[in-house]
Amino acid sequence: MAHAYKRRDFIKFLAAGAATSTLAACATAPEMQKPIGRVAVIGGGFGGAAAAKYIRAWSGDRIEVILIERSNLFVSCPMSNLVLGGSQKIGDITMDYAKLRAYGVQVMRDEVTAVDTSTKRIKLTRSEDLPYDRLVLSPGVDFMYEQLPGLNNANAQESILHAWKAGAETVALRKQLEAMRDGGVYILSIPRAPYRCPPGPYERACLVAFYFAQAKPKSKVLILDANEDIVSKKGLFLKAWSERYKGIIEYHNNQEAKDVDPRGMAVKTDFDSFKGDVLNVLPPQKAAGIAAKAGVITANNRWCGVDWLTMQSTANPDIHVLGDATLSASLMPKSASMANQHAKVCAAGVVALMTGEPVNQAPMMTNTCYSYVSDKDAVHVASVHAYDATEKTLKPVPGSGGLSSAASELEGVYATAWARNIWADTLG
C-alpha cells in the first residue's frame, strides 16, 4: 500500500504527526535509493546461487548482484547417484536459473578468465571486463589429474570418468554401466579426504550394486579407498553392504590410486593393480582454478581459508569464498548443505559490510546430509556448528547431531524433500 502514496500525500501524512509515519518512511525508503554497490558472484552452484539470492533479499534489493556461471543449467550432485542406480533420470535433477531473476539477480552465462584484485575487475570470455565492489567466489573443485599420470590427458578422461560433477559424465557413466557385461567389475576409486561429499562414494557403491543386483547379478563393485577407513556413515554403509549387497560389494581400505592404465583398464596402487570393466576414478581435489587466479588459496596449495564471521578470504577481505573450495572447519563436510549455509553467512556479512550494519558475531550452520542405500531407503548424518570466538572457527555444538539409527524408507522420503527444498532455496 505504501507504493500508492503520492509524495504530496506522503508529506501531508507525515505533517499530521501520525506515530506510524516512521513505518511508512521505512517502507518507501529503499525505492528512493540507488544501489549501494555491486557484488559479483562467480559460480552458480549451491553456494553461489544461494548467496546471490540472499544478498538481494537481505539487502532489500539495494545491492546489485551479478551471478556469473558458465553453464545455463544447474545439475544437482546430490541425488545424481540415483541416476547411476537407474531410479532417476538426469532431467529430474536438472534445473535452470530463471527464477533467480525474480529476485533481481542478473545471471550472466560466461567464463571468468582472470580476476584483477587491485582494480577489482573480472575478465570474461564473452563480455567486457566487469567491475565489482565485493566478489563472492563459489568455484567448486578442480581435479588434480597430475597425481594420476595415465589419466592426465583428454583422451583418457573421456573413457575413465569421475562423474563427480553431475551432468554429462553422470549420463555417460550410467551408459558404461548399462553396457557392461554381467559378471563384470566396476571399480570405484576414492581419494584421500578431504574431497567433495564424504559419504558420496559409498552411496554410489550402494546404488551401482542396487542396479547390478537387478540387472546383472554376477557383477561386482570393487571399492578402492585411499583412506584408512570408510570416511562417513561407516556402520550404516557396512550394514547395507553386508545385508543388501552381499557378494556384490568388495571394500579395500588403504588403496590409494597412484596411476590409471586406460588401455589395460587397471587402477594401480602402491603394490597392487586392479583390473575392471568400468573404472570410475575420483581424483584428488582442490579449490577450482579461479581461486588460485584470484590469489585466495591459503592452505596446502589446495584450499581457501576464510573468516567464518563473513566468509571473507583470509588473503583478501574484498573476496568471500564459499562451498567446497574453502578450507573446511573441524568436522565440517564439503556438502551442498554446508555450501548453502556458507552462502547465508556470506550474504549476511556482505550486506552488513556494505550497509554499515553490525556483523553477526555468532553465526550458526547446520548440515543435513542424506545418502540413499537403495532406490528408496536412505540414511543421514546431521550436525550443528556454532562460532567459537576464541578459536575463530565453527565447531560442532556438543551433544547435537548424529546418524540415522537404521536405513528407512521414511528417510528416503525426507532425502527427496531435502533435495526439493534446497533446490528451491538455492534457485528461487
Partner: protein, 104 residues
C-alpha cells in the same frame, strides 16, 4: 507551518534510522538463525513439500515442538539431533522470525 512540516519530516526520518539501528541486530539474529533451517524447510520456512512449513507458524508452537524434539517426547528422524544444537533463546528468536513470514 512550512517549517513545522519539514521538522516533522526530518524527525520522522531520524526516528526511522534509530528504529532500524535499534532493531537491526535482533532482527538479523532471528533471520540468520532461521536461515539455518531453510535448506530443508524452504526459504523463510515456505516448504515446497515433504517437510513442515515453518512460515507463519505461531512462535509458541515452534518453541514447544523444539522442546519436545530435544526431550525426545516427540518422535523424529533427525530433529532430535538438530534441536540439541540450539539454545532456548535461539529457538525463540527463530520462532519469532518464522511467525512473521508469509505462508505464500
Amino acid at each position: 507551518m512550512k517549517n513545522v512540516g519539514v521538522t516533522l519530516l526530518a524527525t520522522a526520518f531520524i526516528g526511522c534510522a534509530l528504529a532500524l539501528q535499534a532493531s537491526a541486530q535482533d532482527a538479523n539474529l532471528g533471520r540468520n538463525l532461521a536461515a539455518t533451517c531453510t535448506h530443508c524447510h524452504g526459504t523463510d520456512g515456505r516448504s515446497v513439500g515433504g517437510t513442515v512449513a515453518l512460515a507463519g507458524m505461531p512462535k509458541e508452537q515452534l518453541v514447544q515442538a523444539m522442546k519436545e524434539f530435544k526431550s525426545g517426547a516427540r518422535p523424529a528422524t533427525v530433529m532430535h539431533q538438530l534441536s540439541k544444537g540450539y539454545t532456548e533463546q535461539q529457538v525463540e528468536l527463530m520462532g519469532e522470525y518464522f511467525s512473521k513470514q508469509k505462508i505464500h
